[in-house]
């Protein structure tokens, strides 16, 4: 079936042997990977897909250099999602890649081995050497689980070791066994794996149950801590209340805690800008560095604190085992709008930024459910909209209280968030009805793992990985977009003796006036049109662009001055229409690029662009016309 495996194994010895970690979700596989490789890991993508390829290096006690690959968790090699396909293809050596494993380490949660043993039996059939590592032995022992390792190894027919990923020396036995096995590695055999049918799966599970009975003594009782916590967190009413409270704290943190750090970053870039301003460079170069590079990249990097804080919460909740519970609690509520319970996490991440949100839809097995989630994720109010919202609200909405205790400005902000959520639910409902004809979707089936305390090391590694991915993007895609937009806004140069701000002679201004007939009914003037063009790179850049257009220098208090300028020149109807536009408009080239990559087609990228543009236009049109009719013109 797969003779390629033999060849790769025979040719490989010159490079470091590849060890693949395979296991059920939540078996502590990633913790084990982190314990083995520490910071010597590299996260990239598999060719053609966005599944993360995590590879790390280590040197064994015997001095052997190994490459460890952490594969996405799965219950079986019968892949159902892009993640699981990668696991299957790597294990079977089908992937044109450098990660054909010489040895497969099946990782099992020692206190929950039933499903892991069936996976181990399936892995035996792929024709590569396999061993089993019983992970989290410490927890299992505490729970009174007794494992006869020698017997287990005999019954399964593969070497078995115990490991405790989170303890010093907890991986010694595993590394020792890997060294021993690599010493005299049997040649890979042709795989006789094929996707098992129900009868074979049943047979394999029976065999796994038999092995389990023979080698493992366990009370089978639930973890009492998990049972007690779930009595509250999965309570039909209390569970939802706790979930809402958690979300509230998360948003408070993302917006309030990040503020001081964001100010520091902002000030840093402003300071860099003034350095450039003071330098003896020609004006054009100054403008390129200051308005193109520094303010462009700075306006994106300033969101790093928010993204790190949001991912901090997401990683902690994931490591705790709470995310599966959140999906459980939200499944029915989201199901009403045609969304899958698992869409909850991606949509939640999209409040920070749609890009990580769309990337995390990989946890959704079903293609249609995943596509629906990807299409609506950009409607969640991402942090890049906040600067625009803040500017316009600050300039047009009076700072007073309504009903005695609620700030009007905050209320408008809340309304914008709510409109985005309502839009997303409405669109997914329509997609479900129109495109999928209301057919019942993928079933919701998900393991609820026992709660575990998150580990600082895993958290730190996870956060570091997210931050570097984000910064890399800011340094490449976004940077090049910024340069393009700077070019549009700077050329051609104003004629000698020009009286208007330089940008009004530029290509961007020409585009802005071209768009004028289209945006007239929305109440937008040409200045807004021009600002929307750089806003395509990243929404918040529109703020800086308005500053340029109204000839306001950056630096201290710039935002306030822009606010005063627009408050004097726009009508309330125009301001409200622009807010409505921003709730829906597809103003983010990076998001569109990620949609194109994740769906593997231009079609869905254009569908997203088209429907969001239509929604934005309709919302701005209605807002402007209604507001004018009410006398706000």
């Amino acid at each position: 079936m797969n003779a390629g495996g033999i060849l790769t194994a025979a040719v490989a010895p010159a490079v470091a042997p590849v060890i693949a970690l395979v296991g059920n979700p939540n078996c502590g596989k990633t913790a084990l990977f982190n314990a083995l490789t520490g910071s010597r890991q590299k996260v990239a993508n598999y060719p053609g897909v966005t599944v993360e390829k995590k590879i790390g290096r280590l040197t064994t006690p015997a001095g052997r250099v190994l490459q460890i690959v952490d594969l996405p968790g799965t219950y079986s090699l019968r892949a159902r999602s892009p993640d699981e396909e990668i696991t299957r293809d790597v294990v079977l050596g089908r992937l044109q890649s450098d990660v054909n494993p010489d040895l497969i380490v099946c990782v099992g949660d020692a206190s929950n081995l039933r499903l892991a043993l069936r996976l181990a039996l399936e892995l035996k059939r792929v024709g590569r050497p396999v061993m089993l590592s019983l992970n989290m032995m410490d927890i299992a022992r505490k729970r009174g689980v007794e494992i006869d390792v020698a017997r287990l190894s005999r019954e399964l027919g593969v070497p078995v070791v115990q490991s405790v990923a989170v303890r010093r020396g907890g991986t010694d036995a595993l590394l020792g066994e890997i060294d021993r096995l690599l010493e005299d590695l049997p040649l890979a055999q042709a795989a006789d794996w094929h996707a098992p049918d129900a009868g074979e799966l049943r047979g394999a599970q029976r065999e796994a149950d038999r092995v389990l009975r023979a080698a493992v003594k366990s009370s089978g009782e639930r973890d009492s801590g998990t049972a007690a916590v779930d009595a509250v967190l999965l309570h039909p009413v209390a569970g939802l209340v706790v979930l809402l409270a958690l979300l509230f704290v998360m948003f408070q943190a993302v917006f309030a805690w990040a503020r001081p750090l964001m100010d520091v970053i902002q000030d840093g870039f402003t300071w860099l800008g003034t350095l450039v301003e003071a330098s003896p460079l020609p004006d054009l170069l100054k403008s390129f560095f200051k308005d193109g590079l520094i303010s462009g990249v700075g306006s994106v990097i300033v969101f790093l604190p928010q993204i790190v804080i949001l991912f901090f919460f997401i990683l902690v909740l994931e490591d705790l085992g709470y995310m599966a519970r959140a999906a459980f609690l939200m499944d029915r509520i989201m199901g009403g709008a045609g969304l899958h319970g698992r869409a909850f996490i991606p949509l939640l991440s999209s409040f920070a930024c749609a890009i990580p949100g769309i990337m995390s839809t990989r946890v959704i097995d079903d293609k249609r459910d995943r596509l629906t989630t990807i299409l609506v994720a950009p409607l969640m109010t991402c942090s890049a909209r906040i600067p625009v919202y803040t500017l316009i609200i600050g300039a047009f909405i009076p700072d007073r209280e309504v009903w005695g205790f609620v700030g009007l400005q905050g209320l408008v902000m809340f309304g914008l968030y709510a409109s985005g959520i309502a839009g997303a639910l409405g669109v997914s409902f329509i997609i479900k009805r129109v495109f999928w004809h209301g057919e019942p979707g993928e079933p919701f089936m998900l393991e609820l793992p026992d709660y575990k305390l998150p580990r600082v090391k895993s958290l730190a590694i996870g956060l570091w990985t997210r931050a570097t991915i984000f910064l890399k993007r800011a340094g490449t895609t976004i940077l090049s977009m910024m340069v393009l937009i700077w070019f549009l806004a700077s050329f051609p140069r104003p004629p000698a003796g020009a009286t208007e701000p330089a940008i009004s002679y530029s290509l961007a201004a020409m585009l802005g006036s071209l768009l004028q007939p289209l945006t007239e009914p929305l109440g937008f003037n040409w200045q807004i049109n021009v600002a929307l063009i750089p806003g395509m790179a990243a929404r918040e850049v529109a703020v800086g662009a308005l500053g340029t257009i109204y000839a306001i220098d950056g630096g201290e208090g710039a935002a306030d001055k822009i606010g005063q300028a627009i408050a004097g020149q726009w009508s309330l109807a125009t301001a409200l229409a622009l807010l409505a536009w921003y709730v829906f408009a597809p103003q983010c080239a990076s998001t569109l690029a990620v949609i194109r990559r994740e769906t593997g087609s231009w079609k869905w990228m254009w569908v997203t662009f088209g429907y969001m543009l239509a929604l934005a236009y309709a919302a701005a049109l209605i807002t402007n016309q209604v507001a004018r009719a009410l006398g706000a013109g």
Binding site: R114, A198, R202, R332, F444, P449
Partner: protein
Amino acid sequence: MTSKATIALGNALVGFRGRIRELVVDKAGVGLPGLELERRLIELGFVEGADVELLHQGLFGGDPIAVRVAHTTIALRRREAMAILVTPALPA
């Protein structure tokens, strides 16, 4: 345990304890072909003879449900759980 007492897990109440008797996947209204649903259920440990307990349910329509099956807790919707026929455990 007579066959008379057999019910679908999808109809069980919170607190139900029993044993899986068989999987019957020809019901309409499920988003998967029956054989695929059967394989997924088995992959999550729902095989004949396994002990189950219904631990929790959601607020709206009692859906989804959290089921203890052998040593694992699995969340699923009642619609899919209709395929799992169970016999109640004898009262202790």
